[in-house]
């Protein structure tokens, strides 16, 4: 999807606040949102569908509202889309249907233990042989899906070199449609001088992890 979330190399966003306090949550509601997100969600959602719902937020809202606010809106929108909430419920915050049986609470120790099981492995086998090998020169595709994709605009059409083959991982462009299909994944190195006309140092390297169908032989 070509929207404002695809930020790599875009200009005009100003300085970085390097002095912000080093705390996990600046406001209580941010912690609540983190906690909600750690224990909610629907089994039909995939990580890439969730990302697509977030990147489909109104562009002005995406750029101007606080970060965890976008998680709240993403979650509300995804629940409405899945039919778990009605739009009226999402807007009012009031349940208008029969409730499920509430889950039992967990302790902090149980949360820490549960977190160890959130190391989801995204490898998905494919019968296809890898098209590229380490050292190959490639060109990233010029065009990309209007739905979800993980091929950022700033490398499209640019030349790079394959540096690692990571085996076959779930392909996000399909996973965002709820379809799990493995595709070969590579780390690809792009020289700064090949990406930016007036770069800071032409030999600096930008690495991206890109799926095979994003790449063509150079």
């Amino acid at each position: 999807m070509d929207s404002v979330h695809d930020l790599g190399g875009k200009q005009g966003y100003g300085a970085i606040d390097v002095d912000e306090p080093e705390v996990p949550f600046k406001h209580e509601w941010e912690g609540r949102m983190w906690g909600i997100s750690s224990c909610s969600g629907s089994s039909d959602w995939t990580i890439d569908w969730w990302r697509h719902v977030r990147e489909a937020i109104d562009p002005v809202d995406y750029l101007t509202r606080p970060y965890f606010d976008s998680w709240a809106q993403t979650e509300l929108a995804a629940y409405v889309d899945s039919g778990v909430f009605t739009l009226e419920e999402a807007i009012s915050g009031k349940c208008q249907s029969e409730a499920f049986k509430a889950p039992s609470p967990i302790s902090v120790d149980e949360a820490v233990a549960k977190d160890r099981k959130r190391d989801t492995n995204f490898e998905v086998a494919t019968t296809k042989a890898p098209k590229f090998t380490v050292g190959d020169s490639i060109v990233a595709a010029v065009t990309a899906s209007s739905h979800h994709t993980r091929l950022p605009a700033y490398v499209r059409g640019k030349a790079g070199t394959v540096t690692t083959h990571h085996g076959s991982h779930s392909f996000p462009d399909l996973n965002a449609h709820g379809i799990e299909e493995g595709q070969h994944l590579y780390s690809v190195a792009f020289k700064a001088g090949d990406l930016w006309l007036d770069c800071e140092n032409a030999d600096d390297v930008i690495y991206l992890d890109l799926w095979e169908s994003y790449l063509e032989p150079a």
Binding site: I16, Y67, D119, N201
Partner: protein, 215 residues
């Protein structure tokens, strides 16, 4: 069942945009009370997760990993070969670290991690991502002008030090292994871990010398 449809989700967003309260705290409160009323989540469980990521799971874990790598060459090799399996030795595996890769700084290379498309971060070893990491300013600039970004963080690099930027576009997550500073010979893991900053493991800090800031 999700529609997986861009047009549908855009329409839902528009409706929410028009009707939700503007205040973020109110939005999150409404979401929480609806989830609780529906019997989908338990508020005490939310408390537990907030506490877990405020007190237990955070950059101190990462700092311990780095300090161990500095003092134990065999562990360092395992961390570089397969970080996912190496962090299991410390029980620090978990959220978003099933495909963890360690990238090592040297006298000639400085590594910097970003996620230009969203905000991917190795949660189980570094905790919740700093706010700046999730801003448009950092995400846009890290790949185009990393040296200027680093300078804002007080890191100045000589031309011969090359910057390697890692844009987390897949499910791989990156942990920067900073150089062990001189003047720390004979220090134990605990002392060394105190030197390791969160930012140094993302790449926006570099010199961890104990004398830094006192000169």
């Amino acid at each position: 069942m999700a529609t997986f449809d861009t047009k549908n989700i855009a329409e839902v967003h528009q409706a929410l945009h028009s009707h939700l309260p503007s205040d973020s705290a109110l939005r999150v409160k409404a979401l929480e009370s609806l989830l609780v009323e529906k019997g989908l989540v338990n508020s005490e469980t939310i408390d537990a997760w907030v506490e877990a990521y405020s007190e237990e799971i955070g950059p101190k874990r990462g700092a311990q990993i780095i300090a161990k790598a500095w003092t134990d060459p065999a562990f360092k090799q395992r961390l570089l070969d397969n970080a996912t399996s190496a962090i299991k030795e410390l029980d620090y595996h978990g959220h978003a670290t099933a495909h963890l890769k360690t990238v090592e700084n040297s006298t000639t290379v400085h590594n910097l991690v970003v996620c230009t498309l969203c905000s991917c971060y190795p949660f189980s070893v570094l905790g919740v991502a700093p706010n700046w990491y999730k801003t448009a300013a950092y995400r846009s600039r890290a790949v185009r002008e990393p040296r200027s970004v680093l300078a804002e963080f007080g890191v100045t690099l000589a031309d011969e030090v090359k910057v390697h930027v890692w844009d987390s576009t897949a499910e791989l997550r990156y942990l920067v292994l900073p150089e062990r500073p001189s003047g720390t010979e004979g220090w134990n893991e605990e002392q060394l871990a105190d030197l390791v900053t969160r930012n140094s493991m993302i790449g926006t800090d570099r010199d961890l010398s104990p004398s830094k800031g006192t000169s």
